[in-house]
């Protein structure tokens, strides 16, 4: 099955927020934001904005009728700053004009006087100054302190991990329309409609039922619109509330990159102990997360870093420490992988370091320590349906790992100015929201009298193919054709209290809720036909290809006939379904529990060629064995694997967030912030899916696929490093990402003048 939006996307007909024809009299908002990293606002001169033609009003913190607060985990984030600014790009005032251009001109007239305060951008420095968010977390497993003595080699190192801009194609945007009875309808590009609803209500001093949030589709989210779509929606709502006119707020790319948070950079310090044979006995790591100015989702992101700090390995003695460090940068936020990738990068670095010191291959150490069935993760959950070794050995066999390694060595012996590198990257990624309450979803299913079906869920289509998946699930469950099914946009009046579309869990949660609703409708429909056929046992009735079967035999009844008959008999053809993930729990006082419904496993083999004269590299191939369960739509899932891989490769190599000493992002445009393009992606991407029925939680055996493939991209860092070591065998290289051509070249030649 193809992606449900494929045709309309290709023809440019898909509607996004600002493609909807504007209602008459609509106004446009633009945001004035802090030009400094940190300071007390002395004075805000907004009057000059009114000298621009077409300016209707300028709104500041004091114009907020409700509570000036949009913090989702910790209430530490104002919608518009009143007294203090904590990063460049922090929203301070909102200019409303008759056109986006007018509003933009108005913004440029505003002057803010600030008493500048000292600013911090380095997470460790912030930590040492006591600037932390929440409380530090520590996971303990076994006894690291006594284990060091049993190790033949103990190595210590530091990782500096770069952040990542989301670069969703559609920047942040929202339109708010005032309705009668003091209701405001918000059309938002958000992954979290209910968060927008809650916060807009809070900001305006209204009840949740006075805010309706509608989401059609997103032009990409990647986590950047999980928490951080909220502010722009609230601002549009605030402006609509004041002007009583529709107001649209669209961030241009420059403003979007400047004002929104990114993947968290980390400083991580590790210590690892191994036996002579390469068995890892102990691992200790301290993660200093660069959280930015506010909490946002940082504590939850940090938690997942801790949960994934041992990746796909079993380590008997572990201590993992993590702390959110408050810095004067835009608040960093959710991003595909949600802290997991950073945790994995550090253990992979630690393994690389001991391999280099022991003089053995990285793969030898990795293979020796892979998780086995029932091994414990440091947080107390057993590895079940563990495919760590299975995917590793399947990849090694299918893609002939030992041959590749020999070829790489032979190439490197034969070539001087170019070297090849290789890395194997196993992943183990936990599926579920780590915040327990979020693991729930609702769906509303209507069957119309012509037999067509309308489905609303709490999930948001953001290009990931949710609509295709839900339609596939529903068609299968009803036993009818795909074209009978319409997946509606996402709306808070149809499905309430939604969890964000995130954590790779959108299909499993909303798909199961859809199944629960369909089950109710089928339970009401089947007796209608059973009565007509004088059948007692409802189990005998099935719908296959729109025909009603009894005991597998045709009955002459069709789906259309059944639906019409049921309606005439006054049978309810609508149902609301609900799903909550079973089994999961986590005890934060002990830092133990069963936080994940299951884990996704996989292994990727990455090959690169390094130009040692110029410091540039090509990714030759990435070959993956991925644990997919039973795909609902293999094409859609393949798209997720390849897209995630691209994003992971970019994060590790070229995506380079450079701030100057004044906290301005130098790489704040797509001319300077580079993401992988079609040329950068290897021509040779092979993906093999493990298909089995190992997963009982996903609809029809489906497994989550959104985030895990991103982490295959981590392999490229170690593949490039492999090639660097082939050129300079005796040199020590650092663990700083992204590994840009600049970092490569400087490290290759830093000691040679």
């Amino acid at each position: 099955m193809k992606h449900s939006d494929a045709v309309s996307h290709t023809r440019g007909e898909s509607q996004y927020v600002d493609d909807i024809p504007p209602p008459s009299g609509m106004l446009y908002a633009a945001v004035f934001s802090s030009p400094v990293m940190h300071g007390k606002i002395k004075a805000l001169h907004i009057q000059d904005a009114y000298t621009v033609d077409g300016i209707v009003t300028v709104l500041t913190a004091k114009d907020i009728p409700g509570e000036n607060q949009i913090g989702s985990v910790i209430p530490d984030e104002e919608l518009l700053s009143g007294d203090e600014v904590c990063y460049v790009g922090q929203p301070v005032a909102l200019v409303i004009g008759t056109s986006p251009e007018n509003a933009g001109r108005g913004v440029r007239k505003i002057i803010m006087e600030v008493d500048e305060l000292p600013a911090v951008t380095d997470p460790k420095e912030a930590f040492l100054k006591g600037k932390i968010i929440g409380t530090p977390r520590t996971f303990v497993f076994g006894d690291v302190d006594t284990a060091w003595q049993k190790c033949d080699l103990v190595a210590e190192g530091t990782c500096d991990i770069g952040g990542q801009e989301h670069v969703y194609l559609e920047t942040q945007r929202s339109r708010a329309i005032p309705l009668d009875e003091n209701i405001i309808r918000i059309i938002s590009s958000t992954q979290s409609p209910s968060a927008v609803q809650r916060h807009a209500a809070k900001v305006l001093g209204l009840r949740n039922h006075s805010i309706e949030v509608n989401v059609m589709r997103l032009g990409g989210g990647f986590g950047g619109k999980e928490d951080q779509a909220t502010s722009w929606a609230c601002m549009a709502a605030l402006a609509a509330w004041h002007t009583r006119r529709p107001v649209e707020l669209v961030l241009g790319r420059t403003d979007d990159i400047k004002m929104t948070g990114k993947r968290h950079p980390y400083r991580s310090e590790f210590k690892i102990g191994v036996t002579r044979e390469g068995k890892i006995l102990a691992y200790e790591v301290k993660h200093y997360q660069n959280s930015g100015a506010t909490a946002d989702l940082s504590p939850a992101v940090l938690e997942r870093t801790l949960l994934h700090s041992t990746n796909s390995y079993f380590i008997p003695n572990v201590r993992i420490y993590g702390v959110c460090c408050r810095t004067n940068l835009p608040s960093n936020t959710a991003f595909r992988g949600f802290g997991g990738p950073q945790g994995m990068f550090v253990i992979e670095s630690a393994i690389t370091m001991v391999a280099e010191k022991l003089g053995v291959s990285r793969e030898a150490i990795q293979a020796k320590n892979l998780l086995k069935e029932n091994d414990l993760f440091p947080y107390g959950q057993n590895a079940r349906n563990c495919r760590s070794q299975l995917t590793w050995y399947k990849a090694a066999e299918k893609y002939r790992l030992s041959e590749i390694l020999q070829k790489v060595e032979a190439y490197n012996n034969a070539h001087f100015e170019t070297k090849k590198g290789i890395a194997v990257m196993p992943i183990s990624f936990g599926i579920s929201f780590t915040t327990l309450s979020m693991n729930q979803a609702g769906a509303l299913v209507h069957v119309y009298t012509d037999g067509s079906v309308s489905i609303s869920t709490g999930g948001v289509e953001m290009g990931q193919g949710l609509k295709s998946n839900i339609a596939g699930i529903a068609a299968k469950a009803f036993g009818i054709k795909h074209d009978r099914i319409r997946i509606e946009n996402t709306n808070t009046t149809r499905v309430a209290n939604m969890s964000p579309s995130a954590a790779s869990a959108t299909t499993v949660l909303n798909g199961n809720a859809t199944l629960a609703a369909i089950k109710q409708i089928l339970c009401r429909l089947k007796p209608v036909v059973a009565k007509e056929l004088h059948v007692q046992d409802m189990e005998k009735i099935t719908v296959v290809d729109e025909n009603i079967l009894c005991d597998g035999r045709e009955t002459g009844w069709t789906w259309d006939m059944l639906v019409q008959k049921a309606h005439l008999n006054r049978i309810d053809l609508s149902a609301h379904g609900f799903f909550a993930t079973p089994e999961i729990y986590f005890d934060k006082t002990k830092e133990k529990g069963h936080p994940f419904a299951y884990h996704i496993f996989g292994t990727a083999i990455t090959e690169v060629t390094l130009d040692c004269l110029r410091g540039t590299y090509d990714v030759d191939s990435v070959r993956i064995v991925h644990d997919l369960g039973r795909p609902l739509s293999e094409l859609v899932d393949r798209g997720q694997v390849e897209g995630g891989l691209a994003q992971g490769l970019g994060w590790m190599t070229m995506e380079d967030l450079r701030f100057n000493e004044k906290g301005h992002l130098l790489s704040g445009a797509l001319a300077t912030y580079k993401v992988p393009d079609v040329y950068f992606m290897p021509d040779d991407i092979e993906v093999t899916f493990l298909q089995d029925e190992g997963n009982t939680l996903g609809p029809y055996g489906n497994k989550a696929v959104g985030e895990p493939p991103l982490m295959y991209g981590i392999g490229v860092f170690f593949a490039i490093r492999y090639a660097m070591r082939a050129f300079r065998p005796k040199k020590e290289f650092d663990f700083i990402s992204p590994l840009t051509p600049e970092r490569v070249l400087l490290q290759l030649y830093s000691d040679r003048k």
């Binding site: 045709v7 290709t10 001087f416 540039t616 130098l666 300077t672 580079k674």
Partner: protein
Amino acid sequence: LRTVCFGYFLEIPDRLRKIPSPAIESDVSEKVTPGYFVAGGTDIYVQKGEVLVESGVHLLNMNHELKNIYKKDGYVHVGALTTFEEFANHQEIINGIPYIQTYMSRVASLQIRNRATLGGNVINATPIGDLTIILLALDAILILKNDGESRSVPMMSFYTGYKQLDKIPSEVLVDILIPESSADNKINFEKVSKRKYLDIASVNSAMKIRCEDGVIREITLAMGGVAPIPLILKATGNYLFGKQVCKEDIEGAFPIVQQEISPINDVRGSVEYKRLLAKQLIIAHFTKLFPEKVAVRDFYET
């Protein structure tokens, strides 16, 4: 899906033809009020998109006569409005720069190359303009026109400071003259950027060189991203003139290169990186053009 989509795309030219063209003034020689000359617009609309909307704009691309490429009196004349793609696909240019299409693949995207003009690249004056660096190494001469009068300026003296030109605002670049290259000229272009394709260079460089009996008899070295202007490495060229293509003489040029360049720290790279790249790209020029004489191994094997 196939019929739905393909039909849609096939109809695009028809739909475009139906859009009425606005009346556009097209005479370059006409006196212009203050405003912006726009050639392909691929740089200026990125840099000054918001300003241009409210400014006087003089669209140059209606002047088809500024698109010609022809040979005359020992020069290849390239009209200033020649697009990157037209340039790279013209036989006269391919004759002079055999690998131009390989180099061009590293410059912008096909869509931009079909729109961006050589003249626009030269006048934009970015210190890392790829075509600018190539034209500099080819010893190009610029013809500027002002109200019917024209004058010529060697490209190497055209740039006087960061985005400062030997040109008054009303002058328009109309023609670029490239001296006809002799058969034994060798040309190479190097570019290093964070992303290999569709990216702006950290440092780029072009070299034109002619040897007789193993001795360098003619050399022009241009380098971008290492100074406020697209730079000709004059002293380095002077030093290499008359030298052999050998490891020792090339290494002798390294300190001179470092003296000639003055890179700054910016988002395209640190000073240290750009200085290292300057050296690496000199090695790259020689090892690529004279593989029988020098190899990378000679410079770095320990």
